[in-house]
């Protein structure tokens, strides 16, 4: 497990890879004010590396707060400006809960992968 500059275990994993012409960002763990900047950086990077689309796999996200939601919204806007596709892949129950409470659950394109 990675550690941050304080030597603390970072409980968020973020990976970026190309998949079928899209860039796929996979996030595992809690997305909050402490960890959401890493998700943001990964999405910014992914949006520069594709001419197709960017997806974010959220099936193993164990928690998300408004900073995580704002990160997703920011990516959606940035993708739109670049005329790229942006979609959520299999958002976990905590992710859907915060999107529903935020009334943003119908704003994102959602793909369910098995």
């Amino acid at each position: 497990m990675k550690v941050d500059r304080n030597g603390e275990k970072m409980e968020l994993e973020v990976n970026v890879k190309e998949q079928n012409g899209d860039m796929l960002v996979t996030v595992k763990g809690d997305v909050d004010l402490y960890t959401s900047p890493r998700v943001r950086s990964a999405l910014v990077k992914a949006l520069t590396k594709t001419s197709g689309g960017v997806g974010i796999d959220l099936r193993e996200v164990t928690y998300m707060d408004s900073s995580g939601v704002a990160t997703l919204v920011e990516a959606l806007r940035a993708a739109g400006q670049k005329k790229l596709d942006f979609f959520l892949v299999s958002p976990s129950k905590p992710v859907m809960k915060v999107l529903e409470l935020s009334r943003l659950d119908s704003v994102f394109r959602i793909r369910k992968d098995s």
Binding site: D30, D32, D65, V73, S102, R103
Partner: protein
């Protein structure tokens, strides 16, 4: 005087938010609420604490905010208090503006909306010269 069951001071560092959530989940379930309700309360209190860190203290990690927890037969009362910049008049209402359109999403505003969605009563009290207090209450729902 209704004294809190727990009162903790937390350094204004985002890395401690996870600890706060775990404490809240445990306390809310221990107080007789469901795990679903505990998750919602943990989210809302995380938002209140995040607001203290980001807005009241401008991201400084050298300050402290306080969380107090109390439960009784009527329900839960959770108070988050900081000593930072008080929210200017009208800012709370502005930050709670309807974020249903993506263009309107602002992180602070969305947090306040989430808090209001989870709790039955929310009382935001900016101080005159310093600090903010947000009092959040969740009623016990009778069964049957």
């Amino acid at each position: 005087m209704n004294c809190p069951d727990l009162r903790i001071q937390v350094r204004s560092e985002p890395r401690f938010l996870k600890c706060i959530r775990e404490l809240l989940r445990s306390y809310v379930v221990n107080s007789g609420f469901s795990r679903d309700q505990a998750e919602s309360v943990a989210l809302a209190v995380d938002e209140a604490c995040s607001n203290s860190i980001r807005h009241s203290y401008g991201g400084s990690c050298d300050e402290f905010f306080e969380i107090s927890l109390r439960s009784d037969p009527a329900g839960l009362e959770i108070v988050v208090t900081d000593q930072g910049r008080p929210a200017p008049p009208g800012e709370i209402a502005r930050r709670k503006a309807d974020p249903t359109a993506p263009e309107e999403v602002k992180p602070g505003g969305l947090g306040l909306r989430l808090i209001s969605e989870v709790f039955d009563e929310v009382d935001f009290r900016p101080g005159q010269e310093r600090g903010n207090r947000v009092i959040m209450r969740l009623k016990r729902k009778s069964e049957g």
